[in-house]
Structure formats: structure tokens, C-alpha cells
Symmetry: C2
Subunit: 341 residues, 2 copies
Amino acid sequence: MANETLVTISQRTGFSISTISRVLNGQAEKYRISATTVRLIEEEAKRCNYIPNLLAKGLTTRRTNIIGLLIPSVDNPYFANIASVVICQAKTQGFTTMIVDTMENEKNEQQDVLSLISRKVDGIIIVPCDRDPAFLERISKHNIPIVLIDRYFDATSLPYVCTDNYQGGYEATIHLIGLGHERIACIQGVPYSMPNKERVRGYREALRQNNLEENARVLGTDFSVQNGYLETKLLLNGPSIPTAIFTLSNTILLGAVKAIRESGFRIPQDISIISFDNNTYLDYLDPAITRVSQPTEEIGILAVKILTESIADNKTGDTQILIPPKLIVCNSVSRLAVLEK
Amino acid sequence: MANETLVTISQRTGFSISTISRVLNGQAEKYRISATTVRLIEEEAKRCNYIPNLLAKGLTTRRTNIIGLLIPSVDNPYFANIASVVICQAKTQGFTTMIVDTMENEKNEQQDVLSLISRKVDGIIIVPCDRDPAFLERISKHNIPIVLIDRYFDATSLPYVCTDNYQGGYEATIHLIGLGHERIACIQGVPYSMPNKERVRGYREALRQNNLEENARVLGTDFSVQNGYLETKLLLNGPSIPTAIFTLSNTILLGAVKAIRESGFRIPQDISIISFDNNTYLDYLDPAITRVSQPTEEIGILAVKILTESIADNKTGDTQILIPPKLIVCNSVSRLAVLEK
DNA sequence: TTGAAAGCGCTAACAA
DNA sequence: TTGTTAGCGCTTTCAA
């Protein structure tokens, strides 16, 4: 089993390997191979459990039907979710996924991309962690199609599918303002990362439009629970305690929640909180957390679609898409009475 | 770029492809190739950005350094966590991971295994969803090494690395009993699945040892939030309300928590709850959930270790390991006063 | 309607 | 110390 090749089948049926190949690839009609021949070959193939060698096939056809997926950390519900969508979607298109965890490290990333190319993947979907698109652009130009997801670069020709983070930051902030909040602090993640920058931009713009730009407070340095915890501690012990906190990721959120609870403040009576990233568990926190939900499903599906089309047409894609996120309103934000202002 | 082959380098340097191959594979010493030759070849390889074709290499060596990973649902924090460990661990051993989502469907599973074999993976790590090991055993015998993780079969020769679910079920129940609980309900997942059966067995044994076997109540049918919700609803509206509920997965837990809150009961004052599966968020529920934490890290590392050794030795492994889980005690279980009993 | 044969890029046995 | 050559299993052109 599994050691059968076209040659063995050829020997046993008496037909040439060309004929075997054609039949087994569904090209019998095209070559007008007789029904008897087809039957004989198919029977033998099934009988001996023939399993094609895709390595050999790939070597000759220069197509592997594999797509490479690079993720900064598979062990992050948000990325796991995206990976899941990509894997399943790719499968429906006849592609197998080769997945790599770059561990949020650009050296790994470059090496991993080369490794995938070595394995002759037909295309690459990547959540980039490099700050500079140069490497990926070079690869894309000379080798194989690449689609960025979740993160993109300032000025790049590479196709991408990402959340409209600006929109998300804006809407979350408007939501708070609409409920009477004016002192809204924002705890951010890695400052230079594109999603972070965009979320902050949205936050600031919402404040500006409501003449609250002077109240803008952007704190924090990375997407960690600890960062959320520490910054919130500082906020709650500072001179001007905000009425609402906008955390730019679910990890930051958790840290913030912990700090708030420790301090004895109640959510949302004493302090409102709104966050980025969706997660089932957020519905079970007490109170359930109002948050900006990213369109992971759409991102995954579109990325695969763009990539496979690009593979089929044998050209580099140029579609750049931002998908608006959705605000999920729960109970972590209170309406501020005029008095309290 | 990336269209370079040994032949092109051979032509440009004037050395034979064998020599190029040897140098580029670090066999220069072994073949006593002159330093100059080595330098010349390496320079040219770097200059033209030579990227080896692993398809061709795999075809000749019959080794791909790819391991196949089959997961029932990547979009499940628990499995995502295991996948993450496997991917990273495999990488440290020089293996790339090809991942497939079987969607908890045995037809998919079989097809996916064959597909991976087609791609000539060197070995397979799988969370099986089939109830019958026959297929995997046949594959293992004739083709490539397989290691089961998280789930195993009653009587199988296949190597596996799993949580000691019996132990987990037992300890959780003993923990409850130790705090005075006697009416402990258990909401299970898929009844026939091995982890579930073992957890229930542990639960029953703990009760038996404390002469509480008559109180055993095992309800539920699958690992869904809804199942947890519905069964809890029934429990709370039934004639004999338990003082504690043991949910056999984090999904079931969430459903139970929802039902309990809706009914106005308080955790843990009115009803205690203990669960299976670990997750960061469980620390942020109110109260934080006491749970049995599975040794995902150890499982992933060991599975890769067993598999790669088995690949290296070119034999099917036979290591079968159960790793004890850890009880994480939080605040969702109360001590029952004697009176309340 | 079927077959022969070249070639994909690489390794390794054999030769020199 | 280096080279020649025969495959690995498959597709595909050309021929019949």
C-alpha cells in the first residue's frame, strides 16, 4: 500500500504509464480512451490502493496546491480564528495549508518565507510582523503571490485584506461620547504597528469632531495583559480619573479589568470600558464587554479568494481591502448623567 | 531569483552538480572538497539567491521533513493551543507542519490523512475523531508513523499522548467532596468519546469511594455551549438541585454559567461549579472558575518527540502516555456548611 | 486510442 | 578531490 506507482499499475494492466496517468487524472475522455481500458485501470488503482505522489507531480507541473500561511502566534484566539478560516477556505479551493508560527519575529518571518518557497507553495498568506515591506515585496515580484492579512504597510503595492481599524477606533469612541463620556483614555498596543496607529487615529478623530481633542490620552506600549494592567493602575491612581477606558486589544482589556476590580471601582457604574477584538468569553465576563469585533471570517475568505485567483491567473494581485468592523454593544459602558460630567 | 538550480550554478562555476550539491549540503568536508571550490560555489549560490527545491529533494531522498497535523477544529482555543505547541516544537526539530482541520468529521479525517500521505509527510500527529482506530492503524502499519494526541482508542497499538482524563475527573470530584458537596451533577460532552468516558469514570469513582455513588448524575450529549445551557436549566428547575456542577469542557461551562446567572443563583454561594479545560479568560470570569487544566504543552512536545524519533528510527512507535492534569483552584467552589447539607 | 521518451531538480552510487 | 549517471514518480509532447 502506498508504494504503488504509475509504473506498477502499468505493469499489471499492460497499459503504458501515459494512459494510466490520463485515466487517473480524469483525462480519459479528452484522449478518447476506451471505456474498457478506463475500467481496468481504475479497478487496479483502487485494488492496490494507489496514492499519487504529489511531490513528483509538483515537480513536473510546477504546482503544488499548497498555500503557506504565516501567523505571528497561533496561540492567540484571534489569529487561531483567522487561521481556522483560511485553512478551511483553502481546502474548499483544493489547497492544503502549510502553517508557520513566526513568533512575532521578523528574522523568523524571512526565513520561514524562504522555507515555504523552497517547498514550492503556490502562494502565501501572511500576517506580517516586519516593519518593512521590502523583503516581501521582493519575494512577491520574483516568485509567488502574497496576500497580507490583518496588518499592512503604509505604502505598499502588496495586496491586503485587513480590518478598517480607523473605523473601529472611531466608532468605539463615538459610542462612548454619545453616552456622555468626555474623559476617555485609550490604552494602546505596539505604537508603530499599523492596526494600532489606525485605531488611535480613529479615536483622536472622534474626539476632535466633538471638540474633545484636548482630552485625548493615549497610553501604553504593547499588546500584553500586563501593559493593560499597569496603565490602568496608573490611570486610576492619577489626578484625573477617566470615565471610560478604550483598550485596543483583548489582552489589554483583561489587564485593565483586573486593575479596575482590584481598585474597587465597578464596571460600568464607576468606569466604562470598551475594547477591540471579539471573543466568546467576553460575553461571559461580568459585565459582558462592549467591543469592536473584527471581520475575521471575511478577512480569511477574501484573502484565500484573492490569492487563489492570483495563482490561477499567474499574476501578482493588487486588491487592497479594508473591511469595517462591527461594534458589539454589551453592558460595560454606562450612560453618563449630565451631573456627573 | 528562485529559479536557480544546481545546473545553473554548475554552469556558472564550472563545477559538476554533484560538487555543488555536496557543498550546499554541508558535505564539503566529507568529500574533501577544496576550500577554494567551496568558497566559489557558496559565493555564487548566495549571489544568485539560490533556493533549493525541496520537492525534488524529497522525491529522491524520500524524506520531506514535513509532519502532518490533523485537528478537529483549529478554532477552539484548546486545540489552537496544542497546534501552536506542535508547530513550534516541530520547527525546532527541523520540521515544517502541514495542518488540516478535519471539522470533527471522520470522512474528512480519512481523506485528509490520505492527502497528507500523498504529499509524503514524514509522519502524522492527529487528534482523531473517528470512533474506530482501524483506518489509522492500517495507515500506520503500511506507511508512516502516527501519533495520537488528546484522544485515543480503547485497545490500540498506536502511540498516543493524552491527558489522564480519569485522573482529572477524579480529582475535580474529590475536590468538591472535600468541601462538603454531596449532590454533584456532571454535564458531559460526547458520551462515547474517550476523554469524556474517562472523565466520567473518574467522577463516578470519586463518588463511589465516598459512598456517594447513588448521587451520581451524568447528563448531556455533546461539547457545546448549548448543551451546557440546557442541561443546567433542567437541573436548576428539577426536583433536586445539586450543590455543585462539574462541566466537562469550557464550552459546557459557559452554557452552564449563563443558565445559572439567568436563574438568579449565585456562584459559588448558591451553586458551585468546576470545569475541565484551561483558559486565560477563566481567571477573569466572576468568580474565576476552578478547573482541571490539561498539560497541552507537554502533550505537544512529547508527541513531536515521539514522532520524530519514530521517523528517525524508521519504525512505528509504541509509546502510550497519559499525563496527569492540574487542578487550578479559584473561587467558583464554596465550602458547604454542615447545615446546608 | 495508445505509447515512447524527455525532463522537472535533486541525490547517491560508482568511477576516475 | 571531482565528475558521470541513473533514477525518484509524474506529466506532456510528439509520434503512431
